[in-house]
Amino acid sequence: MTTISLKDVKKSYGNLRVIHGVSVDIHDSEFIVVVGPSGCGKSTLLRMIAGLEDISEGEVCIDGKVVNHLEPMDRNIAMVFQNYALYPHMSVFDNIAYSLKIAKTSKAEIKQRVQETAELLQLGDYLDRKPRQLSGGQRQRVAMGRAIVRRPSVFLFDEPLSNLDAKLRVQMRLEIKRLQRQLGITSVFVTHDQVEAMTLGDKLMVLNDGRVEQFGTPVELYQKPRSIFVAQFIGSPSMNIVPVSEGHRLPNGAVVDHAVPKPQHTGELSLGIRPEHIDIEPASDVRFLIEMAEQLGANTLIHGVLEGSSAPLVVSLPGLHTLESLDASIGLRFQPENCHWFDTATGDRL
């Protein structure tokens, strides 16, 4: 039973402010993913929760208690580091048992708990090995084991999968999710990979340049992105953003279907539409000049521009298509219910 809340947390290194006031409430057993481009402050935020970094302003509370001045060792938090940070001179057993020894657990119990943990992570056969004798995936598991074995109240993960190859990454992603469900421990997971974020998180926090762009469930972020940044960051391939002028006009002068609702707004507008929400409609005014096709198997991504302009657009069509099987210029229809409107100047959703 652990909740975490951040209250207007800020962080500066000298005059350089890297976290500009983050507030969030994390409920018990929740799996939160902090996602954002590299250098946006994800690790810094995580390390402040861990106690490895001083908090410049604001409060970090665990179970309602302010922990700003508690040492990392007094917070009962376990963390998995990006480079795993395994103790190179200790065996896998000793790595996992380290925290238990500190907690003065009895020898018998240490043995039993390490063995249990090793079983859970399929590390049973490797307990006598040193970290350098393990593969990347196994090291990752040892790091997980070290976190799990002490039954902490919070798990923190700092891009733990980024050093693994693609296949192993998908496998470990599922494993982490399964373990977190099974153990029910409140977790914060940091990644720059939006697919990882979407699949893992109960809720996502999109961080941009030290500010929270949006906090919500993956579906909320996908369906109602609060800014152009979130719209383009979440979802793969990313959302098309097309400038729209007076009277529903696209850059090439074509008029978007009047069924697409346009908000009452003065100023520059942008229309956001995901590639998978665009259909072919031969009779449409919106002409699309095809430049390239990427076959992904289940669907095909068509890259091109709106005819008569240089505005790029990506369309995702179900099934397999090639440049030859399609006309050079096709008519498109934007699904009205899936159109998003943004203020071009501020990037905010309208």
């Binding site: 861990a50 490895l52 990392p72 938090i77 580091f81 940070a85 190179p88 925290s99 040193k130």
Partner: protein, 293 residues
């Protein structure tokens, strides 16, 4: 795969190694050969002729209670110098590793003593502890302690240990600091998250990972204490009082050049030659397998 430079001919490589070979021959092989040769003779005090005695000189020194005492003195001295200088250096390095602001100044200041020649360092400490005019002995006198290393053997030993250790701290500090900084921060952080306090982390993570550095310094410092502390001993105690600080290297000098017993002195040099050889082997062994964990 080994990366090495290969030369086509043999003239250039020969030319390149000649200076080193000449220096080694003139300053090492020749005197070493002389020492081994002379250790088998007893020259008369005027150096006019010498008499062959075979192992005689060695038999003499290994039954000489003064020489055996010098062995013990050397062991105590080297061990104390090594422990004090490495201990203090490690402690300073731990502190320096933690601070961020002003670290550069702090490091520079700590490196200065290394630039002081052993004999000068000896004089420095000699002045501070001079029984009559030394500033430290004056303060000791104030608190009721009568310091006199000229008469008291333990005090003499303490003083030469301090002076020798002091000039070595900088060197050890640099290596320890480099060693500490090569330990990934995340390991120490992981240990902190696992619940380890500063000392527990030091004992279980930092110190073991520092062991290659520590071992290297151990050998280097023992070699230093054995052979390079001559200047300190010479300026502060000249081996006295009652031979209390007469370490092996100094005894070679005092027996040979002061006592004019060249045969025994040469035999002692040969013993030292063996010690150097042993320490060198130890060190090369270490360099071969750098990683101990």
């Amino acid at each position: 795969m080994e990366k090495r430079v290969t030369f086509k001919g043999w003239l250039l490589p020969l030319l390149l190694i000649t200076p080193q070979v000449v220096v080694t021959a003139v300053f090492f092989f020749w005197p070493a050969g002389q020492a081994i040769y002379q250790s088998a003779f007893i020259p008369d005090p005027f150096g006019l002729k010498s008499q062959f005695v075979g192992w005689g000189n060695f038999q003499f020194i290994f039954t000489d209670p003064y020489y055996l005492a010098s062995f013990k003195t050397t062991a105590i001295f080297s061990l104390s110098v090594t422990i004090v200088s490495m201990g203090v250096a490690l402690w300073l390095a731990l502190m320096a590793d933690r601070i961020i602001k002003g670290a550069a100044t702090y490091r520079t200041l700590l490196i200065w003593p290394y630039a002081v020649a052993p004999a000068i360092a000896g004089v420095l400490w000699l002045f501070m502890f001079n029984p009559r005019i030394g500033v430290v002995s004056w303060y000791l006198d104030k608190i009721g302690y009568d310091w006199n290393h000229v008469l008291n053997s333990n005090e003499a030993m303490l003083l030469v240990v301090l002076a020798s250790a002091w000039s070595r701290i900088s060197y050890n500090f640099l290596f320890f600091l480099a060693g500490l900084q090569s330990i990934p921060k995340s390991l120490v952080e992981a240990a902190a998250m696992d619940g380890a306090g500063f000392w527990y982390r030091f004992r279980t993570i930092v110190f073991p990972l520092l062991s290659p550095t520590t071992f290297f310094l151990l050998v280097v410092n023992i070699v230093y204490a054995f052979f390079e502390t001559f200047g300190v001993i010479h300026t502060i105690t000249a081996g006295g009082p009652q031979q209390a600080t007469n370490i092996m290297v100094y005894k070679v000098y005092s027996d040979g050049f002061v006592g004019q017993d060249l045969g025994s002195s040469a035999a002692q040099s040969v013993v030292l030659l063996f010690v150097v050889g042993l320490l060198t082997i130890l060190q090369f062994r270490y360099i071969e397998k750098k990683v101990h964990y």
